[in-house]
Symmetry: C3
Subunit: 391 residues, 3 copies
Amino acid sequence: MGPGTPCGEYLRRFWQPIITSVEVQDLPRRLHILGEDLVTFRDKSGAVGLLELYCPHRGTSLEFVLVCDKGLRCCYHGWLFDVDGKILETPGEPADSTLKERLYHGAYPVLEYSGLVFAYMGPADKRPDFPIFDTFDLPGYDLVAIPGYVWPCNWLQVKENSMDPAHLAFLHTLPGSTGFTVDLAALGEWDFVETSAGMVYIDTRRQGDRVWVRVADFMPPNIHQFPPNADPMAQRTSINRPTATRWAVPLDDTHTMQIGFNRAPEGREARRGAGFGQDGSRPYKERQRIPGDYDAQVSIHGGIARHSLEHLASTDRGVIMLRNMIRRGIRAVQNGTDPMQPLGQGGKAIPTYSQDRVVLGIPPAPTPEEDSRLLREIGRKVVAAGIVDRS
Amino acid sequence: MGPGTPCGEYLRRFWQPIITSVEVQDLPRRLHILGEDLVTFRDKSGAVGLLELYCPHRGTSLEFVLVCDKGLRCCYHGWLFDVDGKILETPGEPADSTLKERLYHGAYPVLEYSGLVFAYMGPADKRPDFPIFDTFDLPGYDLVAIPGYVWPCNWLQVKENSMDPAHLAFLHTLPGSTGFTVDLAALGEWDFVETSAGMVYIDTRRQGDRVWVRVADFMPPNIHQFPPNADPMAQRTSINRPTATRWAVPLDDTHTMQIGFNRAPEGREARRGAGFGQDGSRPYKERQRIPGDYDAQVSIHGGIARHSLEHLASTDRGVIMLRNMIRRGIRAVQNGTDPMQPLGQGGKAIPTYSQDRVVLGIPPAPTPEEDSRLLREIGRKVVAAGIVDRS
Amino acid sequence: MGPGTPCGEYLRRFWQPIITSVEVQDLPRRLHILGEDLVTFRDKSGAVGLLELYCPHRGTSLEFVLVCDKGLRCCYHGWLFDVDGKILETPGEPADSTLKERLYHGAYPVLEYSGLVFAYMGPADKRPDFPIFDTFDLPGYDLVAIPGYVWPCNWLQVKENSMDPAHLAFLHTLPGSTGFTVDLAALGEWDFVETSAGMVYIDTRRQGDRVWVRVADFMPPNIHQFPPNADPMAQRTSINRPTATRWAVPLDDTHTMQIGFNRAPEGREARRGAGFGQDGSRPYKERQRIPGDYDAQVSIHGGIARHSLEHLASTDRGVIMLRNMIRRGIRAVQNGTDPMQPLGQGGKAIPTYSQDRVVLGIPPAPTPEEDSRLLREIGRKVVAAGIVDRS
């Protein structure tokens, strides 16, 4: 994850959320992101900065500071730094000192979007536009920034879960689990296709003459979106856009911050924290009896999956595709080219595909094998059509 | 301790207790034994299994599971494992998948005996019979399984204590210590002999015309037995068999689980947990003022005795014999032969020697030196006679 | 810090305080000093010893012991050690054993002075006289031993602070800080000179026709003294000797014990513990808002200053001089010679220079540059004069 590693350099080519805006108020916040010690703060003018943690003078941590009208001042000898790392004052130095002109403190560009602070930690000349996904401003939905929660494991095993629909039918329908409907317990037809934004899984189920198509997005390097996990037949008859957009931001090799947005139809309250089974706070025995995502994923090989010990099966096709997509990105950066990065065309938002959709009037095919094929065909058509009927 | 190390391979040639039966009920138990991550569980049919901790599919810890009628099911994708590691189901895989026929999950054989679960973690073709010691079914005594308590130190320094009668006269008669009688404060005549089951120390004291002979067993690789630590003259006039049988099971190089049996005459209550000074739970200053076995042994060189810093003395003859016995066993395994392993003859239990015995009518010899020799001679005769008068 | 390292060997050539006398009473105290595991204790005769922690026999920690009339006895087998490491008894060994004549337990010489226990951990033939500084017995002042408080960082960054007057003007005049007067917020003229005892900083400020000269000592390898941090004009018109003498004793590379003396005019109470901002016990957010010495120094580069990341400036002249003085000492020891070590001449106490002094009747020079030069000249004269007027 650290600077200079193949995967670290790849991840640094993307804007990453680092904290919610409301968490950066009057006091600086010490952060550990992609293996780097950093401090973020908001000066009294409202500008947000992300600086190297240690003062360039003598190394005092800039978490202990005076936040100023412009920038922040180290507590030890009063050096003053602007949000972009410019050194504004070096008190005690002679009037003719050029020290502050010759030295810059390490800083990364940041921006705020809908309640999250994003940073770009890669090479300055490779900075991409900030990606606006179509789900960031959905008519009829409110977007809510969710504070990060940290899992003590590697980020990749967290992200792989997003292209693993098989676990829905087991983990999320265990007696006592909440947040998912029992309809998911029936095994779906699982399919995986690349999209303009990354890839999706398509989880399709027959319900009489109706076909329920459930689509979840993965956008490289570490974003996923998923629909509401509920049988749309029970309450809805048409499209549902994603309830959540999540980044899995590596803090280091064995700690990952999940952070992002929840959304809810206007007038309804979005969930504001981790859901059932999404953290390690429950009593151990309860986690043993009714495990959740946290337990199934964090416990893998004690925190970092060792791929040589795995026995991947046909249900892992999406995981393998996701790994290959990330591997291609890492190799692109290693080869001096740009990694695949979804971008909006002509100023438009980037289309994504996560949805629940029900297709009506599809009677079963004559044999189970033919019906499986039919369901997959319908699923692919739904994705190929994109999000057309936002009614 | 790990697999492949000389000492690890030696210890793996013996059945080892890993937990009490009552601790393996409706929930699986994660264990770390001989450096390996394992999970033990009892399925709903009552069968007990000991499996590798991490699911062979994607690595989720099998401490988070569904215990089933037969075997246990990983929470993440529902793979089902029998107690012997056989993979019974791989849900989601195609009907014609042969995956579960081609793959076995790691498992060790277990058996339950008198409330303890024992495992054999060595090569399958070297598995010995489970050793039944004569103390496992003593007429007139009840056997009670004692849950393991963990000491943060190496197992060898714990086990050496069992052949170290000298410490009884100091550590266990400190003012405030309980569990031992003050009679032990007098230095005994100490002698050590090999037996059919391993070795014993013989701690002999004169009391007028009577001679009190106290014998404790060591059975390789990591078992010991000792009598009740009380002056038999005060309450008894004849034999007493061991109050405790203990295994020192290495969890790793610096953690050792003491586990085993206590026994008590029928109708009397056996002690059910660690005794005085047997754990680290007392306040530090109290442990300084009245140290116990835990403090004296765990503190050695910070957790692992460095033999090069020791200065062994004549009181350490038993420790040296014990080390040599273990060294011979390690070398035997390294050389491809079998280590010494006590076995019963013709279906009979394995005889052991731990006892308190008083020999009457032995007036003192003319000189202290001659009396010392006399006491040692009587001690050896008691051991040579075996346990003859169980009345 | 450990034995055999260049800096460790240098530091071992000086007497170091290890604990206060009142902390060594009826129970032994386990210590970790200069990377070594030790135990100090006071036997029932009142003699204080400092021994290697682990018993030479079988390695039990001597923190679990019987303190005896003479020496202390290991709890495991009763070996008895005198305060100088001599083995007095090896119970259980034969009457003709010469073991205790042939073996000595590791011990360091100690002495008690004004409530502190000092140890010498260097080569026996290099042991210097115990240094009596002139501030140890100041007429009209009481000396109070201050128990050590441990900072989780390297000792050098703690000690460097003592020759860094610039931080007074920032860190110690932050709103909410206590213990320093706002007069220090004005930048002083800073000067640094070597003295017979080590070096001093001279922090000089003009107040009308008066000049306030503030002098602090550094005595190698790890001692400093500073005056009361208060504007003497407000309450006093003449000299003030140091309020504190402090050693920064390395426990290991990332833990440093600050220990030493406070002093107060007779009849007034000296501060008995760490002052404001001198420890990590305050709530984190309060430490962020009003940082103290602890926060500014401990946080440097996460615990050990990495000099290659620093950008030293003109305010760091004293830090550079201090580093050079220590470097010269380390090299002297490496070259087989003796490090600079302040010693009293002809039985007299070693003169030191820390003081607050006000020089009256000095009108400002015509220009700021000339006045700066004038102030520095006055400062140097004050130090050159030594402590002459103790009235």
